[in-house]
Structure formats: C-alpha cells, structure tokens
Symmetry: C2
Subunit: 380 residues, 2 copies
C-alpha cells in the first residue's frame, strides 16, 4: 500500500491511557478523521458518521488511496441529505482500522515494530469510546446526530446507549444489535482465508515485506456476495459470459459475476490491511448490545437512552435483515424510547445504504430535518 | 487420502470412446457405483440415485473412507422410502468425482500420471451420459425412477430431457434448472480458495505429495454456510461460546459456530479431492437446461419429456430456493407434462433433503408408491 496523506489526526489517551475492553491500556493512540462543513458557534451542529467494516474516514471527499469518491459522497455535501452548509460532519477512522488510526499495521511504540497480531483485541465499544475522546478534544459536548450503516450502525447503537447525554438523534442503518451465527460464520471463513495465505506469516507480513493478498481478496469476495442481494446479482450479471462467446471448460472467469468478484477482491487488497480485517470482523462478531448493557435483555440496554431514533432497513438485505431492525425497534418501544422505523423497498441488498436510493434519502432527510427543528438548529 | 475398496466398478467407452461436451474423447473410463436391493427379472424396478457435489456412490451403506453411514441411509433400506425389498437402487459416483470414477485424481493412461488440471472440463450432461452407458452395461433399458437432490437434481432433469424413453418417474429435489449468479459466485470463491493454497501447485499436488487442505477446507466452509438456513444456524449455535466462559479477544474458535465450521472443513479434506471440487463446481456453474436443450426457453427443453415428475423444494433453502423449483414446474406445465410439486416446510435449509424430514419422506413415499402402481410394479 502506498502511504499518502490521510487527513486529520488526533492523539488520544495522552494523560490517561485508554483502557480497552480486553484490559490492555493504549497510550497516545492515533485517531484519524475527516470533517466536512463548519462547526457552529454553539457547537450544536455536529453529526458523527460511523463507517462500516471496509470504510474509512473519507466519507465525503476523494479517498487518497483509491482515488475514488468518498463512500458516502452521495449523501454528504452542500444541499445534500447531510448538508455541509448546515452541519459539521465528523467521520473518524475506527480504532483498529488501517487509514491512520491506531491499528495492527501501525507501529507499537513499545517495540518499534508493527503491531501485527500483538495488537490487542478490540470491540465496538472501544471504537466508540475512542471517538468520544476525539469529541472531547474537539470540545464538542453533544452530537446533534450519530449515523452509520452496517458496522457503523452498531457504533450508533453503542453511542446512544453508552453516552445517552451526548446524542440527540441516532440513525442506525442496515444493522443489528448483535451478530448472528450466520454473520459470525461468514466472517470466520474470511479470516480463515487470510490466515491460510502463506504470505500472512502469522500476522507479521509487513516485517517480511510480503502481503497475503490472495487470502484477503478471497475474504473480500465472500463478504461482497453477502452485501448484494440475489436479485441484484441476477439483474447485474445473470449468467452472462465475460468477453467471450463460449464457456472455456476451464477455471478462468468465464462468467461476468466471477470477473466482477475477482475485481472486487483485487482492488480491496490495494487499500486495506489484512490484519485490520481480522480485528474488525472480530469486533463485529463480539458485538452484543443486550449482553453487554442489558444483562441479556435488549430493552434493558436501552433503558437510559435519550436519543430519538430512526431505524432503517432494506427489504433485500439478507446480511442484516429487517427482522434485526425490528428487534431493535421493539426493544426501544419497550422502554418508551422515541423511535421511528422505515423499511426501504430496495433490491440492492445490504449495500443499498451506500448506493442511489431516493426513498432512503427522503426518509433520512425528513428525519434529520425534523430532528434539527426539535434541536433548535435554525435553517439557513 | 487412504485408498480403500470403493465398491463396484464398470469400464465404459471401451469399443467407442466417450465424447465429452468439451470435445475431448475418453476411453475406458471408470464408473464406480453401488447397488442396493435386487434387480427383478423384467429389469423394471431400477431406481437411479444421483448424488450431490460432495456426495458419492455410498448412498445406502457405510462410506469406506469416512466410516460414516451413507449420505441417504435414512431413505435407502428394507421398508424405507427407497425400499430395497422392492427396488434395485443404483448410485454411481459421478464422472469427475474422487471415489473411483474417472476424475482428476485418477491416472491418465496416456501419460501414466494423475490427470490434475489436464483432466478435461465436464458437464452435468457428461455425467448423465456416462451413467447411461453404465445402465447399458447393466442391461437396464428403462429406469423406474431417477431421484436426487441439489446437483443430483440437475442430473435428474438432464436424464428426463436427454433420455425421455429411459425414465418413467423423475424426482428433482432442492435444485434448479440453471445456476444463478449467486450460486456461481459462491462456487467461484471456493475455487479461488483452493487455487490460492500454496500446496495446490497448479493442480499437481499429488505429484508433489502435498495437499491444499486449508484451501479446500475453506471452500467447504463457505459452501456449508449456504447449505444451512440462517434460523438453523441460529437454533443450533446462536452466539454460544465453544468450551469457554469468556471471549478470548483473539482468533481462536471462540464461538461454537466457528468450531463447527472448522470441523466441517477439516473432515471434508480427508475424503475429497481438491481438483474434483473444482471440476464439479464448474460443471454445476455451466448447467443451464434451457440454454442447452431449449434454445433458452425452459419449456422447450421439456417438450419431449415422458417422465412423470415430482418436484420438491424446502422453504428455508436459500441456495436453491422454492422459486427455482416453481420455474421448473411452470415450464413442465407449459408443455402439459405430468408434474406434481411439493414445497416442504422445513427450517433445515438446503441440506434438508439429507436430514430427518418426515413430511419430505411422506411426499416422496406417496409419489414413488403411486408411480410404482402406474408402472405395474406389484407390491410384495
């Protein structure tokens, strides 16, 4: 991977070490982040955007590594749903990530070498508590809104529960309050693919100047299938052949869908760290809001929340199905929380939250507009 | 893999070479098979059982490699649904398989070495036409019934279409008339996992006395997730931990579902050939009955069929969904074929056809009983 300027950076845990859920203490941890728009005088217009497994802080502007538009550029900008003329958008690269935040590919100050598998195990809560320290540094006491999809949605739930006084509105999208057995299973296969790669070298590939690219590409390919709906795959590719008239009776990418998946895998390895993939998928597997905060009862976990919620799911998302969102909504209802719920009709699968989905945007826009009114954020 | 006695064997293509769809001619090809029950005097009581991707000829008796009961032992035996007191059951190991039939791990007589990737690409039709030669050798002109699930079901469809005069009744179970983009995608990832293994050695692992066991195990793990339903995984494992009270913050199999998948992967490599896995998945990807026999129109493919059909699907099968079976039924109806259809209520997913499913057994038993009456097979 090419090292480039990766935006803003804060150093956290300087005076007091940051204590991870696993018990390990981290000092001077780096938190890379991007911001869009301007913080108002009262510091009341901040929206925290939390990214998904393969995302990063470049939500709204060009990603310096891939050269592609930010992963939520459709939503973030002047006059867009997350209107940078009105709001101050903050998007941090998660703890454990590979775009500048402290993670397995960064240098462990104690040893002077890359962390690799010496990096401690992390949780969604660790990511969120690090983000809270970033907000302390930015002197933002309370967020107008926290919003994110997939693993970003898990962070949103964790935010609303762990910091009830710091969140006015919360939008968890295409997510779940815990990882299901099937979710864990898909992740486990991806991890095995990485760890089976001869160039993974027990996590020390950077020391050996090699890279488990085939293993990581396979992990990405598996995951990518789960991000798309079956009808979307069928519509996009069907059984069409790739640049050929006839099947070859061999193992080249005869079909377009094969070629597409291989491309997804190969471009991912250029921008993502294999060990980060291990740590982040593990954090997602460990996520269980009810277990952590409610003694196994999700409604109990939500008992102290103060945020108003807008929970959003997509009909064709089979990775985090609407049923998972309903569980969240039901538990919020059980403690009389302020919650609205929208299931968006879409054939785009889990990735719908990243794609052009006007109905999704309308719902989101309506909620944010309404919440801004309630929060006293005067429209320009 | 240990070489053991693997049952009966026929040599096909002795006088006339067998011509594969890819154009390659095979002479003296081995067709391993098992039989259960006795062929009657008129040779009218034969049932052909076709196995799935990871199956073999040991449908009804103990598998000599794994030591486990045959994959359909619940169905095959005296007084069972496929009653060996009444019927003569034949189960061949498919062409391209690894249990004695000619396939990539067998010796290529022309070179004296294992075929490896020199083995020609095969199709479902090739498998079926080889089985027809086996029946010629056994002097069975017409089968009372052909039955199989998953890839076995594809062979059933191919049988009914390619040999309309040789099939009286056909039971395609949990299958499809072509592989979808999502089906191809999952297979492609499995193949990539095998081919990424450093011990695959471009298919020549047997020459080098090594084995791509991690790659094959990963391919099996991916596939295994698709064989189970999400509710079945949830019910069987949920988020329960494996032999521990607490998560480890590492990459061991903390969760039962991880441990289970690893076990499935590791036992599979003891009994299956990695190259066979490549060739067979490819044959499935290539399967498209409408394209091959009907100029793209499935009903046209079925125009000459004479068999009576019983099409069976399972509600929670997301790999070959009920919608796929409905497509088959609709096309059969469009040419006024004799077809009944049953969608079995089950939470066991695709693998339901291999498991204890009394409703499935009742449907199957009823159809076979009725067909036997029509065929004039007197009940004992």
């Amino acid at each position: 991977m090419v090292t480039k300027d990766i935006g803003k950076e804060a150093i956290l845990g300087v005076d007091t070490p940051f204590i991870l859920d696993c018990g390990v203490q981290l000092s001077n941890l780096k938190q890379a982040y991007q911001t869009y728009g301007k913080l108002n005088y009262d510091k009341t217009n901040a929206i925290l955007v939390c990214h998904a497994l393969s995302g990063d802080q470049f939500a709204g502007d060009t990603n310096p590594i891939s050269g592609k538009p930010g992963w939520w550029h459709l939503l973030i900008g002047p006059g867009k749903v997350l209107d940078t003329d009105r709001y101050f958008i903050i998007c941090p690269n998660i703890l454990g990530g590979c775009m500048g935040s402290t993670g397995p590919k960064e240098i462990n100050a104690d040893t002077g070498e890359c962390w690799g598998l010496q990096f401690p195990g992390i949780t969604i809560s660790d990511m969120v508590r690090a983000q809270a320290l970033l907000l302390d540094l930015l002197e933002i006491e309370k967020l107008f809104c926290v919003i994110g999809g997939s693993m970003g949605g898990m962070q949103i739930l964790e935010w609303a529960v762990s910091f009830p006084d710091r969140v006015f509105a919360a939008v968890p999208i295409a997510t779940a309050s815990h990882h299901s057995a099937q979710n864990i299973a898909f992740h486990e296969v991806g991890r095995q693919a990485i760890m089976a790669d001869q160039y993974w070298k027990n996590g020390d590939y950077l020391k050996y100047d090699c890279y488990p690219q085939r293993g990581l590409a396979i992990a990405r390919m598996i995951a990518h299938i789960t991000y798309m709906s079956e009808p979307a795959l069928q519509n996009k590719f069907g059984r069409r052949l790739q640049n050929r008239e006839e099947i070859t009776f061999g193992f080249e990418a005869d079909f377009q869908v094969e070629s597409y998946l291989r491309y997804q895998g190969s471009t991912f390895v250029d921008r993502f760290d294999a060990n980060s993939y291990l740590y982040i998928t593990r954090a997602m597997d460990y996520f269980d809001l009810a277990e952590r905060h409610g003694g196994g009862v999700l409604a109990e976990a939500f008992r102290e929340v103060k945020a108003r919620f807008c929970v959003i799911s997509f009909t064709s998302d089979w990775l985090y199905q609407t049923a998972e969102s309903r569980i969240i909504v039901k538990a919020l209802n059980a403690v009389a929380a302020n919650v609205s719920f929208a299931e968006i009709n879409s054939d785009k699968g889990h990735d719908a939250f990243l794609l052009e989905e006007p109905e999704f945007w309308r719902v989101l826009s309506g909620f944010i507009e309404g919440a801004a009114d309630k929060y006293g954020l005067t429209k320009k």
